[in-house]
């Protein structure tokens, strides 16, 4: 059922916004043209004009909100004190570490859970992805069909995939329990039992994430010339030695960014824990869903802001160490 009223309303809403963006861009460009190009005759006038719209957007929607959030994190803003929040110094940051961040859960157990979640997922993503990529990187019949089918989970919109998986974790009608019962085993309370719920989250996310790793690593494997392996065979290297000394080092340039990206995505994964759990069990929360719960369920805005910066600091530290350790992204920002 769709009415012309709805069509026009959403078109109008989108249209006016697009128009506003266009007018804003034209104004900014005209201003920059006059100042940088005509008045200052600046060497880099053109690149700055090319950058301006994107830069302004990012400043308005990323940098400004972050600064605003930093200020927020030193206040006690909540639903009660929405209009007149008071400045309370670093109390929120102290609270993150000393009081439960959710109703019962403290910060460090939540962090431990998130690390466990990330490690389990990345291990399976990389292991499964690399294994499948190596199987597919051979001359064989039906390779294209296998690849197309294995990629499919990546193509399913995440919301649908995760909601459908949640349905399959239903105690009586989901296929996991149907299969378990057919095998003569007792069914599992996937949605109510904390450990089973966490396992359910991991299974869903592993299923969702393997195709990306496989595709990326397959690209890396294909770029390795088979001459390396031929030479190694002549020297009598066995399969493990070839994997260890040729495959791994040569896919490093693809593997390292893929792991880094995968770690961020998994650590920050919202959809899977949120939809499998539907905000019911606090025990299944990871940091980012806990943050959402603290902000939008318990409405502790100031506190959540401090919580958010603690999470961000952790990610930043991880990145710095990882980059120091691998050095692989060095070229990326120095080039």
């Amino acid at each position: 059922m769709i009415t012309s009223e709805v069509i026009l309303k959403s078109l109008g809403e989108v249209g006016t916004t697009v128009l506003l963006i266009l007018i804003g861009t034209v104004l900014v460009e005209a201003l920059l043209y006059l100042i940088l190009m005509k008045w200052l005759k600046y060497k880099y006038a053109l690149p700055f004009m090319l950058l301006a719209p994107a830069a302004i957007g990012l400043i308005a929607l990323v940098i400004y909100p972050l600064i605003w959030e930093l200020r927020l994190s030193f206040t006690n803003m909540s639903l009660k004190a929405f209009r007149d929040p008071a400045f309370i110094g670093i109390k929120n940051y102290v609270r993150v570490f000393t009081e439960p961040v959710l109703k019962q859960k403290m910060f460090f157990p939540l962090l431990g859970q998130t690390i466990l979640w990330t490690v389990i997922n990345i291990t399976f993503h990389v292991g499964g992805g690399l294994g499948l990529a190596m199987l597919l990187n051979r001359k064989m019949r039906g390779k294209g069909i296998y690849r197309a089918i294995i990629i499919l989970p990546w193509a399913v919109p995440q919301v649908i995939a995760v909601l459908a998986w949640r349905g399959e974790f239903n105690f009586a009608y989901g296929y996991f329990n149907i299969i378990l019962t057919k095998l003569g085993l007792p069914g599992v309370q996937w949605l109510a039992d904390p450990v089973a719920n966490f396992a359910a989250m991991c299974m869903t996310n592993i299923w969702l994430g393997i195709p990306f790793m496989m595709v990326t690593l397959l690209g890396g494997l294909q770029s390795i010339s088979s001459e390396f392996y031929e030479a190694a065979e002549m020297d009598g290297a066995n399969a493990w030695q070839q994997f260890r000394n040729i495959t791994l080092p040569l896919i490093q340039p693809v593997l390292t960014p893929a792991i880094l990206l995968g770690t961020f995505w998994t650590f920050n994964n919202f959809n899977v824990p949120f939809f499998i759990n539907q905000n019911e069990l606090e025990s299944s929360d990871i940091l980012v869903t806990g943050l959402f719960r603290a902000a939008f369920q318990y409405n502790r805005y100031g506190f959540s802001a401090a919580f958010a910066f603690v999470i961000f600091a952790l990610l930043l530290l991880f990145t710095i160490f990882y980059m120091r350790y691998t050095r692989s992204l060095k070229g990326a920002y120095e080039s």
């Binding site: 059922m1 769709i2 709805v6 069509i7 959403s10 809403e13 989108v14 916004t17 697009v18 963006i21 090319l50 719209p53 994107a54 830069a55 990012l58 929607l61 990323v62 909100p65 959030e69 927020l72 499948l132 199987l135 051979r138 296998y146 089918i149 294995i150 499919l152 989970p153 193509a155 399913v156 919301v159 649908i160 909601l163 459908a164 998986w165 399959e168 296929y175 149907i178 299923w207 595709v215 990326t216 690209g219 088979s226 065979e233 290297a237 070839q242 920050n268 539907q278 940091l287 980012v288 869903t289 943050l291 902000a295 939008f296 805005y301 959540s304 961000f312 930043l316 990145t319 920002y333």
Partner: protein, 293 residues
Amino acid sequence: MSAKHTTPKKSFFRSGREDSPFKRILIHLVLIISCVIAIFPILRILAVSLRPGNRLMSTDLAIIPPDATLESYRIILFEKPFLSWVWNSLAITISTALIGVILAATAAYAFSRWKFPGRSVGLVFLLATQMIPASMLMIPIYILAIKLGMVGTYRGLVIAYCVTSIPFSVWILKGYYDTIPVDLEEAARIDGCSQLQAFLRVLLPLSTPALAITFLFNFMAAWNEYLLARVMLGSQESLLTWPLGLQRLQGQFQTQWGQFSAGSILVMVPVMVLFLYSSKYLISGLTLGGVKG
């Protein structure tokens, strides 16, 4: 490779059809099992969508149920506002993906061809934005949107979708531009083009594959976005996008399983076709962006 070498035993990494039959069967078996794991949950959605209303809850594992019916499709298409959810999503997604690509394409050009002051800071900043958890930005954006009166309209949502995809797009496009020789633009400039014309007439047409990938990425990101839409649109019934609508079908007292699955299939199939069709370009674009930076 042409030389026929003497080693009789070929290793795992190069061998093809000369493998022992046992090994070949084993590899095919592993791949077939992976395919089943990959596709089974998707086929289950199809199975549930085809069940008649009184058999939604059943322990049947057949993909096409014996009494298959399109009843759920009829209900969701003609009795539920499903089509208007899809329309809303389409309107938002196409416009934001287009704007996002345009903004990123020009910014990436600046990053690729000039060593302007602040360039490396900018690139690191773009990388750093990928670390920010979505729910972290949600808090200030939500409160600011309340204060600006943008909750319950598309304004905030459209602007946010345009902008959030920029960093990733710039990385991919810059990586691609870097592989195109500057000589081409210089030749065009000798022929009397301005720098901007050289960009528009020479570089952009050459970058069509990368632009298509970026558009696709932006499209998918906005098309599947749930969190920000939920926070920004509130309970505006007529403005819902499809992820919100479908979640609502599942979230009510009693899950409308059949309708949820039928809606999912309708949304999913076009996206999957598009994805498979473009996956070749997608892969090359991703590895390029990853390796070359």
